[in-house]
């Protein structure tokens, strides 16, 4: 029965119901919105600095804000039109942040951008050029962390990457954006991989895909045979297979040490969406102004995958999938395990929005918290080898120092512990609190030292 | 009025066992029956009162540095007196209480009162203090002994009121701990309500 040699990470993990409702629905292009809201921070790091002003007319693909500082990314206009306002707007962060509000006129693009479907396989750009183009295009990790990609490609001196891992795992239930992308943009993806390999100077790339996407595994395997150095690795369906550290462990057997970066063990991981964006940026000069978004939910009429312009209001995307169901209790940006619940629907889709999940009221609520029965299930599912029950308890008793010694900072916030806990304890909530407080402690220490 | 307080505080409000949790060993070790508890309590009370009296008598003549050793010697003398007297005239009780008679010396309660009260107060106050504390201690021991005897042997002062045995555990070590735990909890509640 098993067709592939499966790999996986050794410890922990859970298997939530997969619910990939939209796996069979091809990517559709969402009608252009009348007004977009483009925040200046859509990435991990410092906000970009606006370079246009209120009232300016912009075309799609035009730079709106310039990255500022080391960890930051450029922001581009996703439609052409007039900058109505530059003001604070609610976004997925739950707070108001500076954003461009653009009223769309038509769909004019920056002429330097190649929008045709032609496949440019030949890579002419040099290593430096690739990284520069990716940086200019404002590409950030589309796997969820939205970490600026060019930084990850710039392997620090003294370290050496020897393997590129392409993350096509999509272990989150419900989400299918990466899956569809792998099926429909497979050729472009392969070029993207070669671009990233060149940028990193590695000659080996492995595409990791969970076994529940056999069509993608087959398709990419057949394509990979044609390019040297690229292989496809089927992975066991187990959450969080797509977590960077887990993926590296599964594929290479290497363990990223606590507090270290993947490059320390010679690996760099990129999401398939990021890879595609890299292809478009390098071969077609196209900045990151649109992305694939899965709109899904059991009560939703038509769970679908859309190609969405950055800045489109979430409400419009939901509308296109049949509208918000009457009994909606919760709307989540991203998947059910790691996504962020939002309080309002007029917030924009941003670079990191991989999906919009609608949960009916009956599934939207947490059950009452019960006492911990010390069943150790949270300990056994934690892929990082932590003790969530203890970290929560330490959090409740404000013992940050102890939590730090118990390595709260290693938590990747996968949520497996909260998912499994039979007593419905908000483990991850408190672990996040631990992490925040420990972070504050560390900052204080650093300040004291300097 | 004030003297009454010196006496009465030891009974409940500052009870050595229930409130201060001092002198635990004899409390647990000798309370297999109401009679034993009473005996131990009275023996301790005697030492406590006498040493309080003597300490408050000599308090002004003892230099600070040798305060503790002197007190210990005084207390130990009275303990030995009790020991010898009991051995001579109450041999059965002495056998039951065993090791715990000499250990009155190290009962934190006795030294504690000498230190904290008798060395700072007049003879009369110290006597009352010792008497109150001692009776409070005795009361607690007596209560614990009664509980353990009633539950453990089904009797009180040796008077059986059920056929057969009680819950044996209560005359054994674990029962002592458990009975005391719940007695303290109940007294805590009682004290808090009164306070």
């Amino acid at each position: 029965m098993q067709k592939y040699q499966l790999k996986t990470f050794p410890k922990g993990g859970v298997h939530p119901a997969e619910n990939k409702l939209s796996a069979g629905s091809p990517i559709k292009i969402l009608p252009l919105p009348e007004r977009v809201v483009i925040p200046v921070v859509q990435h991990l790091g410092a906000p970009a600095e606006p370079v246009v002003q209120k009232g300016d007319t912009v075309v799609a693909g035009q730079l709106l804000a310039q990255s500022k500082g080391f960890v930051s990314a450029n922001i581009h206009a996703s439609v052409s039109g007039k900058v109505f306002r530059i003001e604070e707007r609610f976004d997925a962060s739950g707070y108001k942040r500076l954003a461009f509000v653009i009223d769309r006129h038509d769909d004019t693009w920056d002429p330097a951008i190649d929008r045709s479907d032609t496949l440019h396989e030949h890579i002419t750009a040099s290593r430096e050029e690739i990284i520069r183009k990716i940086q200019e295009a404002g590409i950030v990790g589309m796997g969820g962390a939205t970490f600026p990609t060019h930084i990850k490609l710039n392997v620090p001196k003294g370290k050496k990457a020897d393997i590129l891992i392409i993350n096509g795992v999509e272990c989150e239930p419900f989400l299918t954006a990466d899956h569809r992308l792998m099926l429909e943009k497979s050729k472009e993806l392969m070029v993207g991989i070669r671009i990233l390999m060149k940028a990193l100077g590695v000659d080996r790339a492995v595409i990791g895909i969970e076994q529940n996407k056999p069509d993608a595994i087959d398709l990419l395997s057949s394509l990979a045979e044609k390019s040297s150095g690229i292989t496809v690795q089927a992975l066991k369906v187990k959450y969080p297979q797509g977590g960077e550290k887990q993926l590296i462990k599964a594929i290479t057997g290497r363990e990223v040490p606590s507090g270290a970066l993947p490059v320390d063990v010679g690996a760099v991981v990129h999401n398939v969406g990021t890879t595609l964006a890299a292809y478009e940026a390098v071969q077609k000069n196209k900045p990151l102004v649109e992305r694939i978004v899965t709109v899904t939910g059991k009560s939703l009429q038509e769970p679908s995958n859309f190609l969405v312009r950055i800045g489109t209001p979430v409400a419009e995307v939901i509308e296109a999938a049949g509208g918000l169901p009457e009994d909606t209790g919760k709307v989540v940006l991203g998947g059910p395990m790691m996504g962020k619940a939002v309080s309002k629907l007029d917030i924009p889709v941003t670079k990191g929005t991989s999906g919009i999940l609608i949960l009916p009221d009956s599934e939207a609520h947490r059950k009452p918290v019960q006492p911990c029965i010390r069943c150790a299930k949270c300990v056994s599912v934690c892929p990082m080898g932590l003790e969530p029950y203890l970290l929560m308890s330490l959090g409740q008793h404000q013992l940050w120092d102890k939590a730090r010694r118990e390595r709260a900072l290693d938590c990747i916030e996968c949520g497996s512990c909260s998912f499994i806990c039979p007593a419905d304890r908000p483990l991850l909530d408190y672990i996040r609190l631990d992490k925040m407080r420990i972070g504050a402690l560390i900052r204080k220490e650093k300040k004291a030292v300097s | 009025m004030n003297q009454w307080k010196n006496f009465s505080k030891g009974l409940i409000a500052e009870n050595a066992i229930f409130v201060q949790v001092l002198g635990m060993c004899p409390t647990l070790g000798t309370t297999t029956s109401a009679y034993n508890g009473l005996g131990m309590g009275l023996a301790t009370t005697f030492v406590l009162v006498m040493s309080n009296i003597v300490v408050s008598m000599v308090r002004n003549y003892i230099p600070d540095k040798v305060r503790i050793p002197s007190f210990i010697v005084i207390i130990a003398s009275f303990v030995t007196v009790v020991e010898l007297t009991m051995q001579a005239y109450l041999p059965a009780l002495f056998e039951e209480l065993g090791l715990f008679i000499p250990l009155i010396v190290v009962n934190c309660l006795v030294l504690g009162r000498a230190e904290a009260f008798a060395s700072k107060n007049t003879i009369w106050s110290s006597t009352l203090d010792g008497l109150g504390m001692g009776l409070g201690f005795t009361l607690a021991l007596f209560m614990l002994g009664s509980v353990r005897e009633i539950l453990g042997s089904g009797s009180w002062f040796g008077l059986k009121f059920i056929q057969g045995d009680g819950m044996l555990l209560f005359v054994l070590a674990p029962g002592a701990f458990l009975a005391l735990a719940y007695l303290i909890a109940i007294m805590n509640k009682f004290n808090r309500k009164n306070a």
Partner: protein
């Protein structure tokens, strides 16, 4: 083999705290934190062995020849008190770190009936000197075992919501009671 029997007996079967009811005050007092329990165990072991040796010599070479058996209590306690104070002073000077760790417990030990109790029990048990040393040391180990177990449990209980009336001393006694119950399982081993 004889030593082994003494060891097992003193640690498990006739545990000084759980079966003999000695040293309960420090057992309750310092058991709220594991770290202090370990320190206390060290201090008690040290003083207990030392005191047993000294009182042993005192009993067999002074009191008995002079027919002063009845002076046991008073002489023993005097010796122990002096010994503890001496240890305290010396330790403070010689090893401040050790003093930091053990120092605060030393005054407590004077009024710890376990030390005097063991000294008297050694005489009552008719041990010879090496046996007395083993006996006192294993008694201290037994004390330490009970103390460490209780304190680790109490630390764990700090993390849960113990009913108000039971918090602190009462619940510690309940734990001690159940521990004593469990330790009865060792009955008959020696």
């Amino acid at each position: 083999m004889e030593y082994f029997v003494i060891l097992i007996s003193a640690i498990f079967v006739n545990n000084i705290v759980l079966a003999k009811f000695l040293g309960i005050c420090p057992f309750m007092g310092v058991s709220s934190r594991l770290e202090t329990s370990v320190g206390m165990t060290g201090a008690v072991a040290f003083v207990m062995v030392l005191a047993t040796i000294v009182t042993y010599l005192l009993q067999y070479y002074v009191l008995n020849p002079l027919g002063l058996g009845f002076m046991q209590t008073i002489t023993f306690i005097l010796v122990i008190a002096a010994l503890v104070q001496m240890v305290e002073i010396v330790l403070k000077k010689v090893s401040p770190e050790l003093y930091q760790a053990l120092g605060i417990f030393l005054p407590l030990i004077t009024t710890n009936c376990a030390v005097l109790g063991v000294a008297i029990l050694t005489i009552q048990g008719k041990y010879n000197l090496p046996e007395a040393v083993v006996f006192s040391f294993s008694t201290a180990l037994g004390f330490g075992l009970a103390l460490v177990l209780l304190s680790s449990i109490r630390e764990a209980l700090d993390m849960v919501e113990v009913p108000k009336g039971m918090k602190g001393i009462p619940i510690a006694f309940v734990v001690a009671g159940i521990l004593a119950m469990a330790f009865m399982g060792f009955a008959g081993l020696v």
